[in-house]
Amino acid sequence: MGKTIVEKILSNHSGRDVKSGDFVVSNIDHVMAGDAKGPKAIDIMNQNNLKFNLEPHKTDLIIDHFVPVQSTHWANDHKKLRDFSLDKGINLFDAGSGVCHTIVTEDGKIVPGGLAIGGDSHVCTYGALNCVAVAVESIEIASVYNTGKLWFRVPETIRVNFEGKIPLGVYSKDFVLFLANKLGENGANYQCIEYTGDAISSLSMDARFTISNMSVDMGAKTGIMESDQKTINWMNDFNANLNSVKSDADAKFSREVIIDVSELTPLLAEPPAVHNICAVTDSEKKRIDQAFIGTCTNGRLEDLEIAAKILKGRKINPRVRFYIAPSSRKILQNAIENGVIKTLVDAGATILASACGPCASMNGNGLLGDGDRAISSANRNFPGRLGSKKSEIFLSSPATVAASALLGEITDPREFLS
């Protein structure tokens, strides 16, 4: 019986031959601990006298959710991470370095065929690099710091084939929103989603991360892609050891879905949920008050470049607060060098710190008031995700966000792209 990618990677990391449904204890290649779950993991280690036994290069500490920090509680937590980093010799990405999943995938430690955990739901972003990444809690981080291993229940896999030529104005965000709708709310619960097909091959790495990132928003435990020449080019910057893993031809999938992307148009996830999808043209002309491009989903260089292309030489509607948080400092630097930041600022955008920013309520950045409507390149839009429960968040590709900021209402980006 053939195996799926996730069955193979969990087998390789445990020295056992496992299949979906089995429990396995696997060696962990990388642990990401951010400012939301990291401080509690350190507390748990201290309270239980657990020693830090992991090789320090196998973990990174990251300050990204509460940046710039807005309360002394989180400021003290940040201090805890900095002290731990110094004490154990662990690398710390401090405030302004970027969003955890973006900087970790830019840093060369996440490799094809690898197994990683992270203290944040969207760690599945690494899947675009052919790495199985699973979101965990503070106690699991503490336990891996102590033992280097973690138990898993091997998930089944849904294989999604994206085929066809990508139409103008359609981006990887539109692929994944369409899929979220097709699978339905939590349609992938406790499963791995494997993304494949010629439309995936034609995407850049930046665009692929958007898709793997949102696996968790369909309920999946993780998402994965095969690696190809583009993955290798990405990894070559780091001299990494490549061990790409593919599903066998006779692997068993719980479901196979085929999506013809040539039929797609720009899409929106309307509140209150990610799977609540409509065509941009069906919601056009709805007033918007805030627009945001950033996050681990869609704050990469290519996303900023697409926005700049639409906004070059134009001014956004002055009624709109338009925030941009480049997803890492490296992306910010590149976007300064190639003139994209100037174009965006000239158009009326406000550049925020490379951090989570107005993605979620917790850091208090760019919150929405009662009745406010936002369009965002992020991944979640439940009521209260960003401030008032009486506000609305529409999710879309960065192109649709930029076009909507321009006119101050939900706008089809294709008008500006010919």
Binding site: S14, G15, R16, G21, F23, V25, I44, N48, N49, L50, H73, S121, A135, V136, E137, S138, I139, E140, A142, S143, N146, T147, K149, W151, R153, P155, E185, N186, N189, Y190, G219, A220, K221, M362
Partner: protein, 164 residues
Amino acid sequence: MQRNPRIFRFGDNVSTDVHLSSKYRPVGTTLEDLKECAFSDIYPEFSSLVQGGDFLVAGKNFGLVSSRQDSAVVLRELGISCVLAKSFGHMFYRNALNSGLPLIICDTELILDDELLEIDLKKGEVKFKNEVLKFSPYPESILKMIKAGGLIPFIKKNGSYPLD
């Protein structure tokens, strides 16, 4: 007064947000506060009725959505001996076992509200009246972890994981 263990019934898609209701705060909520507000949005009497040894029996996707370790810890602290559902949210599943709260995946529609359940985690059996429901049993290491009270007590006791 101690009564026989009873069943608390829940439907499909009960999210971890509902487990702890809107009273949940990321900072400064104690375990005692959380115990009082367990399920208070959908089942206000729950925390006053529940006793040690009771069972939760639910439909699909119990414990969906966000990763809240606390929602599993609270159920364990309230003395819930086991949660049975058709399926679980993946983060809740991990959090529960890591907190020493056993979960069972089975066809919960076959269980009536007034059954007396007998559960054998090792054999993978739920017994009631004359019925026996089978579920896929946990391996030895996971059972040991549950018995130890969760992941941290388990590795403290054993140093690491036995591979089985």
